[in-house]
Symmetry: C3
Subunit: 205 residues, 3 copies
Amino acid sequence: MKLILLIDILGTIAFAISGVLTAINKRLDPFGILIIAFVAAIGGGTLRDILIGANVAWMRDLTYVYVIFGSTIFTVVFRKRLEYIRRSLLLFDTIGITFYTIVGVEKGIAAGFEPIICIALGTITACFGGVIRDILCNEIPIIFRKEIYATACILGASAYFLLLNTTIPLDFIVIISGSVIFIVRLLAVYFNLSLPTIYRKDELE
Amino acid sequence: MKLILLIDILGTIAFAISGVLTAINKRLDPFGILIIAFVAAIGGGTLRDILIGANVAWMRDLTYVYVIFGSTIFTVVFRKRLEYIRRSLLLFDTIGITFYTIVGVEKGIAAGFEPIICIALGTITACFGGVIRDILCNEIPIIFRKEIYATACILGASAYFLLLNTTIPLDFIVIISGSVIFIVRLLAVYFNLSLPTIYRKDELE
Amino acid sequence: MKLILLIDILGTIAFAISGVLTAINKRLDPFGILIIAFVAAIGGGTLRDILIGANVAWMRDLTYVYVIFGSTIFTVVFRKRLEYIRRSLLLFDTIGITFYTIVGVEKGIAAGFEPIICIALGTITACFGGVIRDILCNEIPIIFRKEIYATACILGASAYFLLLNTTIPLDFIVIISGSVIFIVRLLAVYFNLSLPTIYRKDELE
């Protein structure tokens, strides 16, 4: 239970940073940056909690709000150094989906949903904040660009349920399925992988 | 009660097929097709259930998930034959709004809402999935194109409440009000009908 | 309690009128105008109620529905005269955010949330209906144009909580913090104020 809280906070930091970097890229004003940081960090979890019918997490626990405020100020101040780390936005986004998928899956299990619904909840938690972030910044959502993104979340979440039937301790299941998401996503970007096409040549002309 | 479950499933199939056809039209990858099929099929009902404060139907009953998976695979495999039926997308979309309007109205009545709110819930159930489908596929939502679409749902839902005050059995009320939606929508498309304008000539220059 | 109901209705009227004026500007058909009026008037409050986990206000109290219908018909009929009042859209929008911020803050307090969450709820109530209104009308949301808009709501909501620690009666707190929102927003438009930039010159080239 403490581990899930920790990875929830780490996901919040990663997505808040990714939101700030996207907003700075678009040269938004301070308020716009803060809004995009919030939306990126809490959008997915909020939709998940509404779908589950649970209390929306950040509204009852101010930790999230403080963490997002802190991450936003930190990123704005040190943005030059973060830019030195190339692909830093990609990295923080990947860390975000890794942590958030696990959080979504575990909240789904706690609420008593079937595995396939929990996998959907994990994917929604991970991907939806980024979708709103990109729409508000007038970018085509990263999830719809031709890359393996949500697919990484689905694979990791599926691994989680496969391992749940073994004797592997829960903490290791979390680490293994998280690694699946992180590695699949980075490999997909690095080797420019995409899903196989269903279209015949004559359909694409 | 069994009739409403049946028409809910038929609406789900119709909207999943309409989502797949729209997504294939946009040459999306397999994951994109599945997402659009889901969103088209469950978007309207999800918003309705959230507004009512009820459990989201597809999260507790996997029937919907299986039906959408099945419809998606079926439509992808047989898409060539479906294309032979011209206007097939239009047809499945019209079947979808017909069934979903009735489902939305009956769920509203079951939750104890006033007729006007039930009519709104029916229209939301019918139209909202299509709106998200079109926005994600970067089309102008069909509901905002200058045609009678939501208006057909509103007319059918209103007919439902008018007939409820008569001695006509419920099953016939469902069939009659469903027919109103289906026929009004098809006539509107066929004769290219639209709502009367409120603008004077000099306002449109 | 009666005061908050009154300002809720006044906000509904102001936002319905702002919705109709935006929709007429886009030459939408009668159904489109009604939808935009509804979305503008109830969008923010609906998101607030869903986030709080409360019943959605307009679904249980038809007053809102009648008020929006009435405001829509009134505005469509008298739109020529409203156009004589220049900046009428701006004025009604500003009246709307003033009233809705207060309503959102007070509903947050009633539900037992921390001040910072109540300020967020007030800002969401005030701004979200306008965001959907603008997106559906294919305008860049007014909140993201470079002006002080949500900032006015945040300042007014913060003033509310500062004054709550004094001996000033609640009705005066409402009037003072509402005036803060109204005046800050109008001054920002009049003097074309925006938030200070965080970017150095070389970043903006």
